[in-house]
């Protein structure tokens, strides 16, 4: 039987794990490649629209599913909103050309006559 102190000593004295052979060179190479990619993205990002687009796509492809989903929903909402707001618009009469104005007046006259016909 061991005392609890012996067990605690055993835990504290355990050596740190050694990675398998060839682990660190591979690790350094892979990490270096990832950091290089980040560096090149960082330098591209500061150049105009292409950089901005790259930044957005970088954010999308980061391993953050919730953020990516939130950004996707936001983008979708913006698109839907812009489509929905493209309804009939009011134009000032002052901006119409002479011909357009005449046409509008004829249409209005016809409409009111038509309504009268329906009413009577």
């Amino acid at each position: 039987m061991a005392s609890f102190k012996d067990i605690m000593d055993m835990i504290s004295k355990r050596k740190a794990p050694e990675p398998p052979k060839g682990f660190w060179p591979e690790f350094d190479r892979e990490l270096g490649e990832r950091l290089d990619a980040i560096d090149s993205r960082k330098s591209n990002r500061s150049y105009g629209f292409a950089g901005w687009l790259d930044g957005i796509s970088f954010a999308f492809f980061q391993p953050k599913p919730v953020l990516a989903a939130a950004m996707f929903i936001l983008a979708l909402n913006i698109v839907l909103f812009s489509f929905a707001s493209r309804g009939p618009t009011l134009v000032s009469v002052a901006l119409l050309s002479r011909d357009d104005l005449a046409e509008e007046l004829v249409l209005t006259d016809q409409l009111s006559s038509g309504e009268n016909i329906v009413d009577f």
Partner: protein, 200 residues
């Protein structure tokens, strides 16, 4: 100026070579921590790489209120939790990571048994397995606190900073972890003449 602080400052200013030096400084210890929580070298490598990438992306946010390695270990621990959560596994802590190269490589637990060699070795192995099992069963915060304190020699203040709680709360986690371990290992513990083991 402290050379490490200088490296951090240079890395914050975007100097890649300085960040590479920080990686070299901490990768060994950080690997041990990642291995303790993931239980295998492949997962430990992935977790460690992801943590360094996150640190590189966010080093500008490091204000120096805590030590760099505490800040980095926090990222690493969160990464370990994420990976293990994805694997639907609880945090596994491996006390026994590798077999010693020879008999003298690691001191055996004293007073385990006075019997013949093979029997003693068997008992030692059995106790190690029970210790691993008992640590694995600890609640997450107790486990993290225990591992960082006793297997990585971190101070309570640093641990508190890492798990975002007060030092006294970290002390309570450690106390409870020690008590729970003592309870779990009671069939293997010699009680005569031994008082309770302190937590610090």
């Amino acid at each position: 100026m402290d050379p490490e602080l200088l490296l951090i400052e240079r890395a914050r200013n975007g100097e890649r070579a300085a960040f590479d030096s920080l990686v070299d400084m901490y990768k060994g210890k950080a690997f041990a921590l990642a291995y303790n929580f993931t239980g295998n070298a492949e997962d430990a490598k992935d977790v460690l790489q992801e943590a360094f990438v996150k640190a590189y992306l966010n080093i500008g946010k490091f204000r120096g209120g805590s030590a760099f390695y505490t800040w980095f270990y926090r990222i690493l621990l969160n990464q370990c939790k994420d990976v293990l959560r994805k694997k639907q596994a609880r945090i596994r802590v491996l006390v026994e990571v590798r077999e010693p190269a020879d008999e003298d490589d690691e001191a055996p637990v004293e007073a385990v048994d006075n019997g013949p060699g093979p029997r003693k070795a068997l008992l030692n192995k059995e106790i190690r397995e029970k210790v691993d099992e008992a640590i694995n069963r600890l609640p997450e915060k107790q486990k993290i606190t225990f591992v960082l304190r006793h297997m990585h020699g971190m101070k309570l203040g640093e641990i508190a900073d890492m798990i975002k709680c007060s030092e006294s709360t970290a002390k309570v986690h450690l106390f409870r972890a020690t008590k729970n371990l003592q309870k779990a290992l009671s069939p293997y513990i010699k009680t005569e003449g031994g008082g309770e083991y302190g937590v610090i």
